[in-house]
């Protein structure tokens, strides 16, 4: 087999991508007939996704890694570095030589601000006194290695192309492995979890019809059908070669999510939640469309990469320019040192309506930046919707109406992370201002969701808000310039969050309720679940030994986010410290609510004995995946596995160096490697650890040891508690602000159609009728009818006369004919005679 990456990767990944589709199609048509009640459909889906996983692994370990040398460990394995070198610069980074030199150059912009966090440790570096140093020189990185191509075209109009194609780099391969691995686990888990659906009829205890529980046929195969379609769509997003294709699969995962949330469509809450999810996502897609339009109109392409030949080499024109440059190559050209500079077409597009602005902006060096901002924020809007960021976060908690495996796969690990993935993918096109928007949104989201999670009692909703909050972390990281940090957290989070959800599913499976107030003490009944969940909790709070490379996966990724926030705050100072503060406080809250959840569920005395007595450990088909995921949740981020190195390989063009704002002039996005500076690392690590510790300790005080009565706390903070309990009243607010007005406008418009337009028509018709009635009486009946009636009477009389000739006698008829002919001829001759004379 030919294992050169340019040929093998697209084929391998396409096969991995299409296998779930095949599974979907098969189950769609013959699912019910596969085994008893469609049982084999589940195995089929599992087989497809496991095969996809194996193919992804082949792509990763047999094709990608042997052909692409990982960068020498430095950036990613910061703990390692921190230990061994402890502040000494590592000059062995041959890829970013200059960047490495700059690594220890702290961002002296902070010197302008007198923040209490600015420690003397920085003073030795004051020589580098230029805040914009990061982006000067030629520090920006070239495009990563990628393979790009088109499979087929949806439409081509002159130079404009909408295609279905691939863009494969290290991130793509990594995401493939991650998605297929988690999906495999979830599929296997679901074989056990959805076992009830194999019964025919299935009893749905949450729906009451005519006073009885609903009985319906099982839908085991349908579930796996949707899961397969989802996997196909999700992998489509990952492999997509252009924004349009991302959008296509973006919507497809949305619809899969719709089907899966609405899987129990008999439940009104489930179908409403499904609608809500899809419509809210569409709001995000609306923004995404605007961003796409801005790009499309100004750049004329959606492609991520440049056109490549069969060997994976960029196709060049005769003059040496890139033949068909993608978005990133247009925005960050080599001539500009891979810095983000709006191309001429964008400047022209921005100012086409008003040349006066052009001159003004050009003078200020801002030309084209507004459009860039619109494009960036627009694309980000899509991510806001999909990743449930504020203000579109409202759908995700409701999405927990779906079966728990769905929550584990779709609504925590993969689909909702797609927003983060897209921000990462699209990163080179975000101008610093757009990144600021991303950071603000991420920051708001993470704190907002964390506060709500503190009061929630539904086990899955707590996890859902936790997901929202963690996604906010990722967005924050990306917005602050931490590309690797954000995507790193994306991958680690996928493992531990799917683990947490599956554990919660296991609990729900055992006690048949979602409400934590009815659980307690389950640790003894279901130890595997309890301890794997504990691993998940520890991973999510970032448990680890500070300043050492020992810890759960979240420890590495969350620390790097906080480091990046620290670095950013140092660079910009002022209010930008709020990002850091929120990140740290958020970490504390995360720890609190996660352990609140664990304590309430697994420790203490059972609150509902009936449920407790019926509880049991889940079957092996469910606990197996838990254990597997737990292992990954612990170890996936360990420096030995070089995950960050892999991500670093995919570092998008020009983004390693950060950048500075044009529209907001003093905004600086620091280069990511700057956050590995030992002084930042030290303090960030301690801050993260202490905040997590405080959180866990607080949870233990209230829920484990019971020193404080939660009910009394509630009473004391009643207004806040009510606010949080009602999720900051977002649902009510949106209902009041958008839904009711939309329905109102709809009714008004419908009424306008009937009441105004149709009224006008009826009025016209009525007028015409009135006129015609008058006309009828005056003109028709008297004048016209009179004439006509007279004529008719005459005709009648004449007919009576003629009737006499109708004798019925044949012989007389002959005579009439003869005489008639004769008279006609006579008349003719007479007429001819008269005319002649």
């Amino acid at each position: 087999m030919d294992l050169t990456p340019a040929t093998a990767l697209p084929k391998l990944l396409a096969a991995a991508w299409l296998l779930p589709l095949a599974s979907f199609v098969v189950i769609l048509f013959v699912g019910k007939r596969l085994g008893p009640h469609g049982k084999w459909a589940g195995y089929l889906a599992v087989g497809a996704i496991v095969s996809a996983f194996l193919l992804s692994c082949v792509a990763m370990f047999a094709v990608w890694l042997p052909n692409h040398e990982l960068p020498v460990a430095h950036h990613g394995e910061h703990h390692d570095e921190g230990d061994q070198h402890d502040g000494a610069p590592a000059d062995d980074d041959h890829q970013h030589g200059t960047a490495a030199l700059l690594q220890d150059a702290p961002l002296t912009a902070c010197a302008d601000h007198d923040s209490p966090f600015q420690l003397a440790a920085f003073q030795e570096n004051e020589a580098h006194a230029d805040g914009h140093a990061v982006e000067e020189g030629h520090a920006a990185n070239p495009p990563p290695t990628y393979y790009f191509g088109d499979w087929y075209s949806l439409g081509q109009f002159g130079a404009l192309k909408l295609t279905i194609g691939y863009y494969i780099d290290a991130l793509t391969v990594t995401m493939f492995c991650m998605v297929t691995l988690i999906a495999s686990c979830v599929h296997i888990y679901a074989l056990g979890y959805m076992h009830d659906e194999l019964h025919d009829p299935y009893h749905d205890h949450e729906v009451i019809v005519h006073g009885h529980h609903l009985h319906r046929p099982g839908r085991f195969h349908r579930f796996f059908q949707y899961l397969s379609l989802f996997c196909f769509s999700m992998l489509g997003i990952v492999i997509a070669g252009n924004v349009a294709m991302v959008f296509v699969f973006w919507e497809l995962v949305g619809i899969c999510s719709y089907f899966l949330i609405g899987f129990y469509f008999e439940r009104h809450s489930a179908s409403t939640a499904a609608n809500k999810a899809f419509i809210v996502n569409r709001v995000g897609d609306f923004g995404m469309l605007i961003g796409m339009m801005a790009l499309w109109a100004s750049l004329g392409t959606f492609a991520f990469g440049d056109k490549q030949d069969a060997k994976g080499q960029t196709v060049l024109t005769e003059s040496g320019a890139i033949a068909e440059p993608g978005i990133f190559s247009q925005l960050r050209t080599a001539e500009n040192g891979y810095r983000l500079v709006p191309p001429a077409s964008m400047i022209a597009e921005e100012t086409r309506n008003d040349p006066a602005i052009e001159a003004e902006d050009a003078a200020a060096g801002k030309a084209g930046h507004w459009l860039l901002l619109v494009a960036g924020v627009g694309i980000f809007c899509g991510c806001v919707g999909k990743s449930a960021q504020f203000p579109l976060h409202v759908w995700l908690p409701d999405a927990m109406e779906g079966p728990t495996p769905v929550s584990a796969l779709v609504h925590s690990a993969t689909m909702v992370a797609a927003g983060v993935y897209l921000v990462g993918r699209f990163y080179p096109a975000f101008c610093p201002e757009a990144l600021l928007v991303i950071a603000i949104i991420g920051c708001i989201t993470l704190s907002l969701a964390a506060t709500i999670a503190i009061t929630a009692t539904d086990i899955k909703r707590v996890l859902a808000y936790s997901t929202v909050s963690q996604l906010g972390y990722m967005m924050l990281a990306l917005g602050l310039g931490g590309w690797i940090a954000g995507l790193f957290h994306l991958i680690t989070h996928a493992f531990f969050k799917s683990l947490l959800f599956m554990c919660s599913g296991s609990v729900i499976h055992a006690v048949h309720t979602n409400d934590m107030t009815e659980m307690g003490g389950l640790r003894k009944k279901m130890p595997i679940t309890a301890y794997t969940m504990l691993i998940g909790c520890l991973a999510i709070i970032g448990a680890g030994v500070p300043l050492t490379p020992i810890g759960f996966s979240g420890y590495f990724s969350k620390d790097s986010i906080i480091e990046q926030a620290w670095s950013h705050a140092q660079t910009n100072g002022g209010v930008y410290w709020a990002f850091l503060a929120m990140a740290v406080i958020g970490a504390s809250m995360t720890a609190f609510y996660m352990f609140r959840l664990w304590f309430m569920t697994f420790t203490g005395a059972p609150r509902d004995h009936h449920k407790y007595d019926h509880a049991h450990e889940s079957p092996r088909v469910m606990t197996g995946p838990l254990v597997l995921l737990a292992i990954f949740a612990i170890a996936v981020a360990w420096p030995a596995f070089r995950l960050t190195g892999l991500l670093e390989q995919a570092q998008p063009v020009g983004t390693a160096a950060g950048g500075s704002g044009v529209l907001i002039e003093d905004l600086v996005v620091p280069a990511e490697h700057l956050s590995h500076a030992p002084n930042i690392k030290l303090r960030a690590g301690l801050a993260a650890f202490s905040s997590a510790f405080i959180g866990v300790f607080g949870a233990a005080v209230v829920y484990l040891w019971g020193y404080l009565n939660p009910r009394e706390i509630k009473q004391t903070f009643k207004p806040i508690y009510t606010l949080l309990w009602n999720k900051w009243y977002f649902d009510q607010l949106y209902n009041f602000l958008f839904i009711q007005p939309a329905l109102f406008i709809g009714r008004q418009i419908a009424a306008f159609d009937r009441g105004v337009i149709d009224w006008f028509l009826h009025a016209c018709a009525w007028t015409v009728r009135l006129f015609s009635m008058v006309f009828d009486v005056v003109f028709d009946r008297t004048l016209v009818d009179g004439t006509v009636n007279t004529a008719a009477n005459w005709t009648w009389d004449f007919g009576l006369l003629l009737r006499r000739f109708q004798t019925g006698s044949l012989r007389q008829y002959v005579l009439f004919i003869v005489m008639g002919t004769w008279f006609m001829c006579l008349a003719y001759f007479a007429a001819a005679f008269v005319l002649m004379s």
């Binding site: 439409g155 109009f157 469509f265 419509i279 469309l289 001429a344 077409s345 159609d753 149709d758």
Partner: protein, 643 residues
Amino acid sequence: MNLSDPIVYLSLMVFLPALGALALAFFPRGNEEAIRYTTLAVTILTFMLSLGLFFDARGVEFKSGVAEMQDMFSAPWIPSFGIQFLMGLDGISFPLVVLTTFLSILAFIASWSITKHIKAFCILYLLLETGMIGVFMALDFFLFYVLWEVMLLPMYFLIGVWGGPRKEYAAIKFFLYTLVGSVLMLIAILMLYFNSDLTLLNDEQLARAGVFKVEARAQETVAEREARVKAAAQEWRDSEDALAMRFKEITAETDPAKKRQLHTFNILALQHIGQHEDSPFNREAWLGKSIQWWAFVLLFIGFAIKVPSVPLHTWLPDAHVEAPTPISMILAGVLLKMGGYGILRICYPICPAAGYDLAYIVCLVGVVSMVWGAFAALAQNDFKRMVAYSSVSHMGYVVLGLGVWSLGMWSATTPGSFTYNADYWKMGVNGAMFQMIAHGISSAGMFFCVGVLYDRVHHRNLNEFGGIMARMPVYSGFAIVIFFAGLGLPGLCGFIGEVFVVLSVWKYSQLLAVISAAVVILTAAYILWAIQRVYLGAEYKGPHGEALTPMLPREFAIAVPLTVFAIILGVYPQALLNYMQPSVDQQVQQLADWTERFDASREALKKSLGEEEEQVALAVPASLPTTPAALKTSIESSARPAQ
């Protein structure tokens, strides 16, 4: 009969249903099954004929990738007015013809449940099909008009006789609305006819207009083609053809004072005349606007009624609600497309200056329809009415796409250079065309889905459904796919057209682009809400619940093709674009070239006037007049106070 002759083949395609109707007229009454099967056979045969065009078996073939009119033929009809029986197919009409014949079969299968006056129903149905196919094929304006009316009458009866409780109201409303459009169209037709002059055209244009025949050849140089066209033109002029003789007579007249015009109804010739530099349509007609401006407005109103665009849309919900299911399918699937087709085939190419001037209005009408229809659909409780309003919304995309007139493309390689590049415009118009076909499939499917339920439970109140998914799972599966196609879900046909249109609009107007993009939210809202209320949920809430039996094989036979096509077009749009795009692109390119000339002449005029008096350039009114002549007068008049 020689089927390899387009005149026979295409005429047969158009008139086969009418012949079928004639034959049915002689069927004895009471033999309902035979009548039904005969009608079905005729529709299938017509469809087979249209499918035959995909292949070269008979010598009459529609080739993909060809932009020009294909299989064009003409026969004199009313020679004294130059009216011809002129028909032909190109990428714009061919997909619509195939859609028509295809939907005619499906809709007829859907009408199996009709029991009242079967014979009359079938006869009218077949006549309607003849009218529909004919309208798409006709290239003579008069013929177009006649067939347009031919299609109107059967529709009136089909709604008025076989409709629901308020059928008379709906039928009359439909009829009057459409008739108003027809009358306006007739006025415009006559305006254009009496101002047209065939002698303005050069040989190539005459050949393209089908005035005389020049075989298309695949590989030949420009010069070769020119020579062939010239020879053919000469041969035509020397022939005894009545038109040729008049043409010769008029062109021979050297005295311009005595020179007469050779009027024509040929749509293609009118297009060339409209895009001619000295187009006679540029003459001022009324209120300072040119003939073509008024013609455009009249035609556009006529077609907008058919589309239908807000505020001329209120016949549609009533007609749909009252019409029986198959007629709704035809109405939404085919009849609405005639409006879009007319705008594309007639309005823009014949009256380009007016189109240029009014492009924003057209786009605005499209956007308003989209928003309006979506909001109104949100408020409906009647299932069919909701679907009808969704048609208004979806057809808004068509009007918007057709109205896009964006020519600016700033080259990425040479900063600041402005080139006339119609790529975005092509995208918009192709998107609009695609949307027409896609909507033909999805809306027909949606109405069919409503009809399946209505046949069973005899009501359409959205609030009294629920739980259909559990009762009729297969049907619900199809219905959901079709409704998602209407929603514009990727992978289904509705997505492609919408996304093409929306993406192309930004280049023309950012405001309209943003509004049109916002419609995706509303669309999702009303469709999902309807799905929730009808298909999801635990139990059926309305009357006649016991009648909710699974899908019949007959209904299955309708749902499957619709679903399959919805998926094929969504996944592989090239299947359609291959046939459609060359013609659309060619037309857009012609208009783009025209615009370039037009702008250049306008600029030159401005410059020449501006050099004399500098204020003049500043005093040019914001809304530019449509013709150079009108511009000149307006500039002069505005310049006068300054002097």
